[in-house]
Symmetry: C3
Subunit: 269 residues, 3 copies
């Protein structure tokens, strides 16, 4: 049972997603297609990377995840096909995939070059339809990754330099960033639960203080109900990262902050 | 051929729906997944209940309908799995399901408790992924409902007390509420066609008058074209309830009313 | 392997799309359902026709494309089922399908009349659920088109008279219209690449000038990167028509124009 997931910034109003699916089904009619999201903000490579990193592992091993957020379509950027932790990943070589594998390394990286697999003529504006879709369909049928193109090393893959990650400052403050605001208005940070553990390790803990914008939150809750109604709270969310939420409301609206806002966590002193 | 439908307030921008589907497909790769909607307004249990009630019966018998609108996730609310009219239903015990079964009773109600079916560790913020998805996948493979948890009676199920329904007042006016505004701006009420028949039964009818906001409509049309272009009309819609519409336009915009607006129907006098 | 695609203006918030799918799966559980789009603007027959024309051919032959943009539902408009270029198409007889087949003619046109295939009772407000869905399901199982209803000629099919298409004016200017603005803000015109070739044929070309609103663009780029960042460009897009785009931005926002805007192309002189 082959599965291909699709993650794009195409939206669902235009025919673009349909074109991908049509091409895939023409080559591999039995494949199961799953939409991860088509509402990544246009050209937002970072959002796409964080989203794919958050979800890839919930699919069965062998799933092929295709991410087409591709502002450089038609330029000389490459397309990557990668074997990683039992999954196959495809995306433009624009920094998206290193956000997925983070500090783990993929087992195999290939630059997609085998034009026999492409749909012809290949347009300059829609490689999703003409390259990603047919190559993904062939891979999902068992076409060998090694025959898709030439091998690359992780060091040859393009990386975005502005993806800092969260970290502990010299003064002992854990500093992170809101990297996503979900549909509920929850502020999802890049601060991992393990980093909070690290901050607290070996200290005589008096609890945590989380500062986001003008709002100061005492301690971590364990569910979205862990504060009075319409009051803010912080917790470890489904990405295993720190989230700021409001019980029964939107943290983004109540706190007036959003994507890019800094979040500071320190020991209560 | 097993079918699972999904109804949530997750939206389609984030990875949440993808995570559910990944977990389900990992357990039951052959299942057919259908999205009913992921655009229920956040935490709107009533909208979710009305939506599921309106659509469940159009699927083949045996379909499992999963509704995850779950503001109480991580609290001590239960999760229900129910056999109803040949279908299986799953939802939090927050009042959603009684809106679906209304004055009919389900044949079997179970509190979901069998942790062997869950995905571990179970997060406190995303039971959709960690409980609903794996339990649904197992049920769709034929796992016995009776083994999912302990039986409950309908009386033990939580009910919302503010779901009044439409009714005929002592002065003989049929009073209902706009419970949904669809994408076309149609105002969908909770007044059932049978209630209109009841209002008119045994009277020497001179026709109906429908009052909504400042607008008075004479009689029921039989299609959306049953009034001049850009003029309002009332009809029995696809939920078999009274709808207020505008030929070629949006009743919500033209009349300036929406969710919660009262609608009065009486005999023309 | 049977495929049915769905193209509607239903949106994805309400239960309407789910109802169609439920009815289809009840009749043909093995069918593969693909959403082309449910976000066609309400009642926008022209947008639906252009969208379907742009995508139908990327699906494997034999695919059944169902388009339900149906402002005349419940009136006496007919429903058409058509064999065209190896595909099956269904849509109301409201001008949508002639936009798909354009100057090619379908091989077979049938007025959908066989009530044995319908879901009963047939509502006056939701033929998508009660006629389109069950008839499509039967067709996808191999039910003969000829038995769905009585044959029609192309001349009997309703055509919209305001679909002009692009053309070359007596003064030698190629004039077209923005017919769609996609999620990226790209302005998609109805000017086909072949018309530009025709404009330039046999002339001693000094290049093209594209005028849209107050903006004048020199020549065609070959990709969205073919202009400095945040600057406008024109190119042949994935529909094989002229698009106006902005590198890294939205042409609709930057130029302040949109659907219906005229676009003029002439030789640089």
């Amino acid at each position: 049972m082959a599965i291909i997931t699709l993650l794009t910034d195409f939206g669902t109003r235009d025919e673009y997603v349909g074109a991908l699916k049509g091409v895939i089904l023409g080559i591999h009619p039995q494949v199961t297609l799953v939409d991860v999201s088509h509402h990544i903000p246009p050209r937002d490579i970072v959002a796409a990377g964080h989203t794919l990193r958050s979800v890839y592992r919930y699919f069965p091993e062998g799933t092929l995840h295709v991410a087409v957020v591709d502002p450089g379509v038609g330029s000389n950027r490459s397309i990557l096909a990668v074997r990683f932790n039992g999954y196959l990943l495809m995306a433009p070589d624009n920094g998206l995939l290193p956000l997925v594998w983070a500090d783990q390394l993929p087992q195999e990286i290939v630059r997609v070059e085998n034009q026999m697999l492409f749909r012809h003529p290949v347009s300059r504006t829609f490689h999703g339809r003409d390259i990603f879709a047919p190559v993904a369909a062939h891979l999902s049928k068992g076409y060998p990754l090694v025959d898709v193109g030439s091998p690359m090393t992780p060091a040859q893959v393009f990386r975005l330099d502005h993806d800092e990650g969260a970290g502990i400052s010299p003064s002992g403050v854990l500093v992170g960033t809101v990297v996503s605001v979900d549909r509920f208005g929850n502020l999802i940070t890049n601060i991992e639960a393990a980093q909070v553990d690290q901050l607290m390790a070996g200290t005589e803990s008096h609890g945590l203080v989380i500062q986001v914008g003008a709002c100061r939150i005492d301690g971590l809750a364990i569910s979205y109900c862990g504060a009075p109604v319409h009051m803010p709270l912080a917790l470890v969310g489904s990405r295993n990262c720190i989230e700021i939420a409001v019980n029964g409301g939107s943290a983004a609206l109540l706190l007036g902050v959003g994507h890019g806002t800094k979040v500071h966590i320190k020991e209560k002193g």
